[in-house]
C-alpha cells in the first residue's frame, strides 16, 4: 500500500523513459513491454523523475491543473500503484525527497485522469537485443564500475 509520505522514483536500472509533447513513453527493459502515459499523467511522470514524495506530487498536480486535492490524491496514488506493479518505479520510506516540484506558470490546465497504457507487441523483438539488465550488472560488477 503506497502512502503519501513515500518517495517515488523511476526504476532507472530497469526503465528507459522519455517525455514527448507531454506524453511519457516508458520501456521496461527487462520485460520488453512499453507504456504510454499521456497528458496529466505525463506531467506526473516528470515529477516521478524528480524523486518527490507522493504528497508533493499531489500538491503539484492540484496546483497545475483544474482538479480538487481529493481527486488528485486518489489518481496519483492509483497511478503510483500501477507503475509500481509494473516495476517502473521504486518506493522509499523514511527518506527526504531530494527534488523540488516546479511552480505553476499561468492559469491551471484542463485536467485529464492519468492513465497507464501498456503494449507488449515489441516484447519478442526486444527479448534478445539488448540483453537483460541483470546481465549488464554482472558485466559492470566484473569491471568494478558502478552502473
Amino acid at each position: 500500500m503506497i502512502s503519501l509520505s513515500q518517495i517515488i522514483s523511476a526504476n532507472e536500472q530497469q526503465v528507459a523513459a522519455k517525455v514527448m509533447d507531454g506524453e511519457a513513453i516508458l520501456i521496461n527493459l527487462t520485460t520488453g513491454a512499453y507504456y504510454s502515459i499521456p497528458s496529466t499523467g505525463g506531467f506526473i511522470w516528470s515529477l516521478v523523475e524528480r524523486k518527490l514524495s507522493i504528497d508533493e506530487i499531489v500538491r503539484a498536480v492540484a496546483a497545475h491543473y483544474k482538479v480538487t486535492r481529493e481527486q488528485a490524491e486518489a489518481d496519483v496514488l492509483r497511478l503510483a500503484e500501477e507503475l509500481h506493479a509494473e516495476g517502473l518505479v521504486t518506493m522509499a520510506t523514511g527518506v527526504t525527497a531530494s527534488g523540488v516540484a516546479p511552480q505553476p506558470i499561468g492559469a491551471p490546465l484542463p485536467y485529464q485522469v492519468p492513465t497507464l497504457e501498456k503494449f507488449t507487441d515489441m516484447a519478442e523483438m526486444f527479448a534478445l537485443d539488448p540483453p537483460l539488465p541483470g546481465l549488464a550488472n554482472t558485466y559492470q560488477d566484473k569491471r568494478g564500475a558502478g552502473a
Partner: protein
C-alpha cells in the same frame, strides 16, 4: 536452378570465437556460395585467425564503424540471391541454411525467414547461466536478430540497409521496417542458432548508455506512432 547464398560475418575483436563461428558455417548441410568476413577495425588477432580460412572466406577490413555498418559493407559485396548473417561469437546448427531456404522456397510470397535462437553462456559466466536457468532469456525463442535471418537479397532494396546510426537494436529496427513494408516472414520454429553470452558482448557495455536507451525509445515511439496511424485509418 542453383540457389546462391551469401553469408556475411561482421567481427570486431572476435579472435577468441570466430573460428567456431566459421566452422559452424563450413559444416552446413547446405553450404553458402560465399562467406564474407567484414573486420570492423579489430585490434586483436582476428585477421590471423581468419587467414586460416582463406580458402573459404573473403576477408575485408574497414575502420571501426559498428556492426550495422559492417553488415552493410558485407551486403554491398555479396553476390548471392539470399543473404544470411552470423556474428563472430555465435553458432549455427548444421541445418540452419537448409531449413530456412526450404521454408522460403516453399513460401514464395515470403521475403524473410527467421529461426529460433537460444542463448548460452561462456564458462566464466557459469554463475549467470545458473541464475538465468529458468528465465525466458535462457529458453529458445524466435530470434529477431541477424544471426537468425535468411533474406532474399531483394529485401535489402525494398526495406533498405541497417541503420548505421544505431548502436543497439539495429536488427529490431530493420525487422520493424520490414513489417511496415509489408514483407511477409516465415518463422521456422526450430532451434537453429546459438547465441553466446560473454563479457565482451557489445550490448553489455552499451546497455547503460543513454544512447542505447535513446535508440530503444526511438524504436518504441516510432512503433507507437505507426500503431496510431493504423488505428485512425
Amino acid at each position: 536452378m542453383h540457389t546462391s547464398i551469401s553469408c556475411v560475418v561482421p567481427v570486431y575483436n572476435g579472435a577468441r570465437f570466430i573460428a567456431e563461428a566459421l566452422d559452424s558455417i563450413l559444416v552446413q548441410s547446405l553450404l553458402p556460395t560465399e562467406i564474407i568476413v567484414v573486420d570492423d577495425g579489430s585490434n586483436d588477432a582476428t585477421a590471423e585467425v581468419v587467414k586460416r580460412y582463406a580458402a573459404h572466406v573473403t576477408y575485408v577490413r574497414q575502420d571501426n564503424a559498428g556492426p550495422a555498418s559492417a553488415r552493410n559493407h558485407g551486403i554491398a559485396l555479396a553476390s548471392g540471391d539470399f543473404l544470411a548473417f552470423l556474428d563472430a561469437d555465435d553458432l549455427w546448427h548444421k541445418d540452419k541454411l537448409a531449413r530456412q531456404l526450404t521454408a522460403l522456397e516453399s513460401n514464395s510470397g515470403a521475403g524473410i525467414c527467421i529461426s529460433h535462437v537460444q542463448n548460452f553462456w561462456v564458462e566464466e559466466l557459469a554463475h549467470e547461466r545458473e541464475r538465468m536457468r529458468d528465465q525466458p532469456f535462457a529458453q529458445p525463442m524466435p530470434g529477431y536478430v541477424c544471426q537468425c535471418l535468411l533474406a532474399r537479397r531483394t529485401m535489402f532494396d525494398s526495406v533498405g540497409k541497417f541503420d548505421e546510426t544505431k548502436r543497439v537494436g539495429e536488427d529490431v529496427d530493420w525487422f520493424m521496417r520490414a513489417d511496415r513494408a509489408g514483407i511477409l516472414k516465415v518463422i521456422v520454429a526450430e532451434l537453429l542458432v546459438y547465441r553466446r553470452i560473454h563479457q565482451q558482448n557489445m550490448s553489455y557495455e552499451l546497455f547503460h548508455s543513454q544512447k542505447a536507451r535513446g535508440d530503444m525509445l526511438d524504436l518504441v515511439i516510432s512503433n507507437l506512432h505507426n500503431r496510431r496511424i493504423q488505428q485512425n485509418k
